[in-house]
């Protein structure tokens, strides 16, 4: 059995009436209301989505895969990002290419539903092939399939 000890905290008449505290609370709210009506441009609320917050420089948004100057993906399918990912959201399939670069990704699927935006994949990449600098954070879709980004989607940005 858990013992219950009652601690007496007797309230005086002012406290028991509640009226004083209610009036004080209302005063604070009304003061804010008045300030917002008079000085509208100082209001901290942002009118999203018409108005958007300025992102910090190192904001981690949706990933993208970078390209070389000749338009081929920089990714060499080394699997370092897949290894580093704590959320297990990247899955790569590697293949061989006959011209130039030996190892290239045949598939690069990034499950944004699983992603925790930690940025470890970017840290791990030895080729600067994956970045999170798109500034995109409005990631929604009608079905789960559309939120698993493939190689072409990630290369487009």
């Amino acid at each position: 059995m858990i013992g219950v000890r009652k601690i007496g905290r007797p309230m005086d008449l002012k406290e028991r009436s509640y009226l004083v505290e209610v009036a004080r609370g209302l005063a604070i709210s009304m003061a804010h209301f008045a300030r917002n009506v008079v000085k509208q441009d100082e209001m901290p609320t942002i009118q999203y989505p018409e108005e958007k917050r300025v992102l910090p420089e190192r904001f981690r948004g949706r990933h993208r895969l970078t390209q070389r100057e000749d338009g081929t993906p920089r990714c060499v399918a080394c699997f370092c990002c897949q290894t580093a990912c704590p959320a297990d959201c990247i899955s790569i399939e590697a293949t061989e290419r006959e011209d130039g670069y030996e190892k290239v990704p045949a598939r690069f699927d990034l499950n944004i539903l699983r992603c925790v935006f930690c940025g470890l994949c970017v840290e791990a990449c030895p080729c600067d092939a994956i970045r999170m600098d798109t500034g995109k954070y409005e990631l929604s879709g009608d079905d789960r399939g559309s939120l698993i980004y493939d190689l072409n989607t990630l290369l487009k940005d």
Partner: protein, 503 residues
Amino acid sequence: MAKITLNGIEREVEENSYLIRAAARCGVHIPHYCYHPALKVEGNCRMCSVEIEGVPKLQTACTTIVRDGMVVNTESEKVVKVRSEVMEFLLRNHPIDCPICDQAGECGLQDYYMEHGLHDSRVTVAEKVKKKKRVDLGPNVVLDSERCILCARCVRFCKDVTGTAELVIANRGSHAEITTFPGRPLTNDYAMNTVDLCPVGALTSRKFRFKCRVWFMERAESICPGCERGCNIYLDRFQNEIQRMKPRVNPRVNGYWICDAGRLDIDWINTNRLLRAEEGGRPIAPEESDREAASALSKGDEVLLVASPSMSNENLFALKKFSEKVLPGSELVGGSFREPWEDDGILRLPDRNPNRKGMEAIGIPTGIEKALATSRGTVLLFENDLLGDQPHLGAKLEGKKVIAFASNRTATVAAADLAVPVTSYAEMAGSFTNHAGRTQPFEPAIRPEGEARPVHEILHRIAAFLGSDLNAASFDALRSEMLEKVSALSMAVPDGREAEHVG
């Protein structure tokens, strides 16, 4: 025995043994690349240099034979310095390929650099000597000359083990590289062992190339089902798929090698599998298939059970028990044998059935032709593809009720009245008895595909429907019962773990 002092501790070692081997037996690992316990010594990598008292210069431990009273230091200041410098030489022209190199993660250069190197490079990437990348040495082996450290393990393997001598080192200095003679590609039946031998990523397997990074894989100890040799293997898995097969050292059976045919024969484990029980092509639930099989057996017709020499001892034992205890009137014979191949004098033995000896020990007779000719009623085929392997026997199945227990979709499965999925050797524990009567256990490498179950479990369920207890549901209990009743199948203690070594 000879007495040597190794790093200040007096040790008794085998006389006339190489110092590197003697030290390994004492638990002292001397780093090395070109030395391999199964190959002739060459002493070209200089990584195993050690200090021997009374000898002015460092000696390579792989070419030095121990002598009584020898005082050896493997960790002296001089040795440590030389090791790091040897590493620097070996890495002088080594490309920065780790991200795309299949060896990364199990690479001798990576391991020893972290342990003995840790120097800053004095050359830029542009200064490194460029060589041929991606040379097809043969159908199964790809060479990257830039990564090669010229340890010549592969050259010695082809010269001394297979005797085919396809590989040679051509050119000199920084331009030296492994190559084949014109028109003589690396086609011997053991060529892929050079990939295992290669301490760096110079030789890679065509089949495994870029398939999976090695750090993702987990391995299980298994036995190759390719022939009656019973080579000890590792099965490496990733995402419930067998990615590759590697030899597991066992001096009593296969030494350090396995043949390419065995190594490449892994695709069937994950493809074309029978995933659900099917009755005339219609998928049914496992309980339903057990009940169906039981009701077919309870009709009192003549029953023929056909075992296979590819089944594990435990499954064969359960089947034998099933035929004696549950269906006393039935006939049990050993079935389809795979076509023999040639004994190549190295590992491959003619009989391609991994467990014929086990089947004999358990007491399952052969003679399927006669049994099929005389049988009238129901035929139960276990891991037998009669229609595919032996069509002349398959024809004798016509007009009979056929229940096929199979891991893969074969012609027989397609024609069977009832097909029940069973696990392949990679998905269950079991044992095979090899040509020399050595019973070797294997462990499951992956989870069963689909609704596949081990044969002994299915037999136990069918027996339960027929009102008897086969006592074969638990694998451990079944194995101990088998070992108790069939003394010829006592397990061998795996050998040769001590012989394993880095890179």
